[in-house]
Amino acid sequence: MTAVKVPVLAAGGVLADLNPRRDGRDLGWLAEARLTALEWVGKHGFPTRKDEDWKYTGLDPILAVPFEAAIAGSGARVTADLINTASVDLGGPRLVFVNGHFSAEFSRLTGLPAGAVVTTLASVLAASPDRLEPFFSHTPGEHHAFAAFNDVFAEDGAFIHLASGTTVDEPIQLVFFTDTEGVPLMSSPRSVMIADSDSRATIVETYAGINNDVYFTNAVTEVVLADSAQIDHFKIQNEAVTAFHLALLDVRQARNSRFSSRSVMLGSSIARHEVRVLLDGVEAEVSLDGIYLPQGEQLHDNTIFIDHAATNCTSHQLYKGVLDGRGHGVFNGQIMVRHGADGTDANQKNKNLILSDRAQVDTRPRLEIYTDDVKCTHGAAVGQMDDEALLYLRTRGIPLEEARGLLVYAFVQEMVDRIELEPLRASLETLVSTRFGTDAHRAQQ
């Protein structure tokens, strides 16, 4: 099959025809950064499957939709109930974005200690835009067109700044909800999190929408951790199955900082969660986990790049996929150990359970090591349901379908259990077990 030919100028189907609705509000540096990014996209186009990093993820369905850029104030169907159903309320600060724009109506910004700023990108752009210059000029356009496209369109998202020594006990929730009202929308949320030395917080990002809506979330989240800062990050991607979701989580870590991210992919027609981590200071630690559960015609792509650029840093990755129907999973994980990054301890594991003979998984764990004193392991496994375990359960009277569900759930349960944050864990347990038709209350007690 040949790829859809895109106009030379646009280099990306109708998507590239989309013009930013800018009206001169941007400051000089921002206008310039956006223009540079747009030119980058114009020059390089959107990735095709010839690009190593997009080999398994075709984008034609996204590029072919005449999206409109989402504007503030849209999303008339959104109610507090919809938001609460999409994202369990964890009781702490909660920023809700509708179609990529902050909604004060559904948000709550109480319970923050002095030293913690939790606000919106739009308000920072209005009040003290220069704070954002290092982020927009740190254009992730060098990675790929969608991050650059976010540079062009991003107007809002979360802005979090933790001053030195600040600890936020309550998890900070970011909810990105889309309601197209029938018009295909592209939203470009951009979130920035800055953790100064010795600060600590938990951040939960949830993406959801209304079924049958066609929309495209093109999200970028940047996290910068100073010395000894610690961020625990969760991401729940539960978009409508008619939606597209491409996200970049870009993390930079200084000395002795700790970052963890746990990702759960449930929704979207095509979804990609890309995580890039730069371990730039000694003894920094990162831990990334993910589960992806494509079924029907869904494609779930996890692309990870961990850059060990300093000595004695540690990185862990564990990704598990369950592929059903004609679902397609991608694990494309790379660990780079730079020259001189001695004492690196890196491991990467990807396990997949295939439930249908029409499902597919492409797994590609990669190590690139330019120094000697390292401890690196990686592995990938693809398996089917354990027939012996299935028989065992059935001989105890558990019906076939329930037995299957139990085994599938058991495969991912380890990942759900790693989410120590209640009631998030419980809500995910329900989401995941409902998907596999098992009893949500497995009760390990």
Partner: protein, 257 residues
């Protein structure tokens, strides 16, 4: 309750059961002995409905065609197998597994399901039979269990699920003498008028602890001799050599009461 007639089973065109005949009544304990490869475990597999065998002949269980039922339907009808190699199932809690199993059976029989509290009380009582403590229940099914612990876990399931026909496949294999005694005590405690047991074993040793009503010897896919517990002792002395199936004999053996 169980009538096996001319049961043949082959896998990959290799015939393993070559005309097994056997009758069991409620309350009876039958032992099937025989050398490795004689078809003992295949008989157990066919009785619980493992896939992959070409089966002919008939198995009637309480008037039903057992071979027509799925494994879970057989379980609901009261058939249970204590596996020779119980499978490890990481991620499924032992307690949750047993409660799900019991409630599946109860649901199938139109009985009310047990909630977690009632089930815990039941499990705690039955655990005493096999001298298991509660830490086993909070672990994943058989995961990291020693050989003896796995076998005790099988007997615990039997104690909880209360089958009418319990098949024990090489339950003694891999057990030291203490574990063997615990397992055998558990089995003996579950022996009653409402339950038949079929004990498959390679060694006579287990039968010192669980004394069978009938002993059958299997060789080359047939039952070649049947007798009482003394037959096991005789085999212990003389071994299995010289035991070959003969068509005249196999047609009439089998315990009849």
């Amino acid at each position: 309750m169980l009538h096996i007639k001319e049961l043949h089973a082959s896998i990959d065109s290799k015939e393993i059961l070559r005309g097994v005949n056997l009758d069991l009544n409620l309350g009876e304990v039958h032992a099937i002995m025989g050398p490795n490869g004689s078809g003992k475990s295949t008989l157990a597999s066919v009785l619980i409905g493992r896939d992959g065998y070409d089966v002919s002949g008939s198995v009637t269980y309480e008037g039903q065609d057992l071979l027509a039922l799925s494994p879970e339907e057989r379980a609901a009808a009261g058939v249970f197998l204590a596996f020779q190699h119980p499978v490890e199932i990481p991620g499924v809690g032992n307690m949750y597994f047993m409660r799900t199993a019991l409630n599946s059976l109860r649901r199938e029989r139109g009985e009310e399901e047990l909630d977690a509290v009632d089930f815990l009380a039941l499990a705690q009582e039955r655990m005493k039979l096999v001298e298991m403590d509660q830490t086993f229940m909070s672990r994943s099914v058989n995961e990291g269990f020693s050989g003896g612990e796995k076998k005790r876990n099988e007997i615990l399931q039997m104690a909880i699920l209360e089958p009418k026909l319990a098949i024990l496949d090489e339950t003694d294999s891999g057990l030291d003498i203490d574990a063997l005694r615990v397992v055998a005590n558990g089995v003996n405690a579950l022996r009653n008028e409402g339950r038949a047991m079929l004990i498959i074993t390679h060694h006579q040793r287990l039968l010192d602890y669980i004394v069978p009503d009938f002993v059958h010897v299997m060789a080359e896919g047939q039952i070649v001799r049947s007798g009482d517990k003394d037959l096991a002792l005789e085999l212990e002395k003389n071994g299995y050599t010289g035991l070959k199936p003969s068509s005249e004999r196999s047609a009439q053996v089998g315990a009849t009461v």
